[in-house]
Amino acid sequence: MKAIEVENLCFSYNGVKALSGITFSVDEGEFIAIIGPNGSGKTTLLRVLLGILKPEVGSVRVFGIEPWKESEKVKSLIGFMPQKEHISTKPPLLVKDIVLMGRAVRKSPLSPLSKEDMRKAREALNAVGLDDKWNTKFSELSGGQQQRVLLARAIAVEPKLLLLDEPFNGVDIPSQERIIGLLDELSRKGVTAIAVVHNVSPLIHSIDKILLLNKDLIAYGSPEEVLKPENMVKAYGAVIPIIVCEEGFVHPLFGDTHG
């Protein structure tokens, strides 16, 4: 069974097109990067996969299930990491509260957290390299550390599908490499991982495919196929230079261009 099958998906907010004619599929255990300029519909696509938004046209299936129809079923398979701009640090939550959150709300109300819940949450925090922050206030962490806690929350629910919205924003290079290594390992174990990123370069060695979005699906396939100049011009309106590294991978050089 395919992890994700999307056919001719269209979606608009109040009549304004955000996604149109999107068709692609993802095999179980694949690691996919979604790239595209600001406002190109990346977050919207994740919301449709989660069943938060209903497709206007077309069909969407996640593990064979239509997310907006049977959203509970689909959500129980997914670990989601929101874009950090969408969260609030008003409640003085501790790191452990947040890592446990996803597991906690999937239990019936009033039933206490189990040893298993604690263990999985600790393992997840360990995996993102923040085991010493278990009892720290979330709002006292740096931006990059907060990102990693949100990732730990997604991993802690033992998902079959990980949907990550800009997981590397503000994350330092060693932590980023560590997280990529972790996602690589999870995808080898059969977890399907989809990460929205702005700079795909650090992931090139680990991902199977890139999905290049700008309301339309501009290209979908291996990095070499997708990162061609004509595709990048269509998506970004500019040529993004690419280099080929020693191991033969194509890397785009975002931010390294100058007038």
């Binding site: 938060i52 989601f80 929101p82 008003k90 409640p91 501790l94 959150m101 206030k137 949100l150």
Partner: protein, 268 residues
């Protein structure tokens, strides 16, 4: 016990109930960053209570003004929650604010001769509460506490990140309405004691102060309760010996605690 007059016992009971509401619902108000809802709900409650008095005065229908207040406040909270899907919630509350103030003034103008009853809703009447008032306040508080206890995890998740809550299977749309309604109910309970003018201070200040210094969520609830409770007792105690409004002293005390903690906290 026999020496304590009943009106004083009722006032103390009301202080305890208000402190519980200011702690449980007040904290979620601060977590959700929707303190403006408190102003919106209290003015709607004023209109609702005034309408109840109008209906009674004209012999049409009789109900406790608290019930009318709760109905209007909850309606406002739900309307604001609904409108906030397009606008920001503060814009939505602002508009309903204007509507309920117009209605309140309209209803009050219809019952000039009973203006004293409305006056007490504006300024609070801790010493004039009836047994029926206390029972209604108690039932409302019980509902607020029970539902917040039941959906504690969900409400916290929604306050932290509503999109994430939905993604992890929380019925956030429904529970958001439930939370907004509970806050509205709690506002009316507080309003009955300290009046519409002071409800904002008594309801928001304790939790806002507690958030400033708390190390975790539980501490916020505990500290907010203590601040509200001590403020209320201070208000009662002082007004027992001097002819001043207990609600005013209590709100003044709670606001001062908030500003003091802010200053102390900023200095390190």
């Amino acid at each position: 016990m026999a020496d304590i007059p009943f009106y004083l016992l009722r006032a103390i009971a009301a202080i305890v109930l208000i402190a519980i509401n200011a702690s449980v619902a007040g904290s979620f108000t601060v977590f959700r960053d929707i303190s403006f809802l408190v102003a919106g709900a209290s003015h709607a409650a004023l209109a609702g209570a005034a309408l109840a008095i109008v209906l009674e005065t004209y012999g049409i229908f009789s109900m406790n003004p608290i019930v009318g207040g709760i109905l209007f406040a909850v309606f406002t909270a739900i309307a604001a929650g609904y409108a906030s899907r397009d606008e920001g919630i503060n814009t939505a509350i602002g508009i309903s604010f204007a509507l309920s103030m117009s209605l309140a003034v309209l209803f009050i103008s219809m019952i000039r001769e009973y203006a004293a009853r409305v006056w007490s809703l504006l300024l609070g009447d801790l010493f004039l509460l009836t047994n029926e008032d206390i029972v209604l306040m108690f039932i409302s508080t019980l509902v607020v506490v029970a539902v917040c206890f039941l959906f504690y995890r969900e409400f916290l998740f929604i306050s932290f990140d509503i999109e994430g809550a939905i993604a992890y299977g929380v019925n956030a749309t429904l529970l958001n309405y439930v939370l907004l309604s509970l806050i509205a109910i709690a506002v009316v309970v507080t309003l009955k004691g300290v009046g519409a003018i002071l409800v904002f201070a008594m309801f928001v200040a304790p939790a806002a102060a507690a958030v400033e210094v708390s190390k975790n969520v539980r501490q916020v609830f505990l500290l907010a309760f203590l601040i509200a409770m001590i403020s209320g007792i201070a208000g009662l105690g002082i007004s027992f010996f001097y002819p001043v409004s207990p609600g005013a002293i209590a709100s003044l005390f709670a606001s001062l605690v908030y500003f003091t903690l802010i200053v102390v906290n900023r200095r390190g």
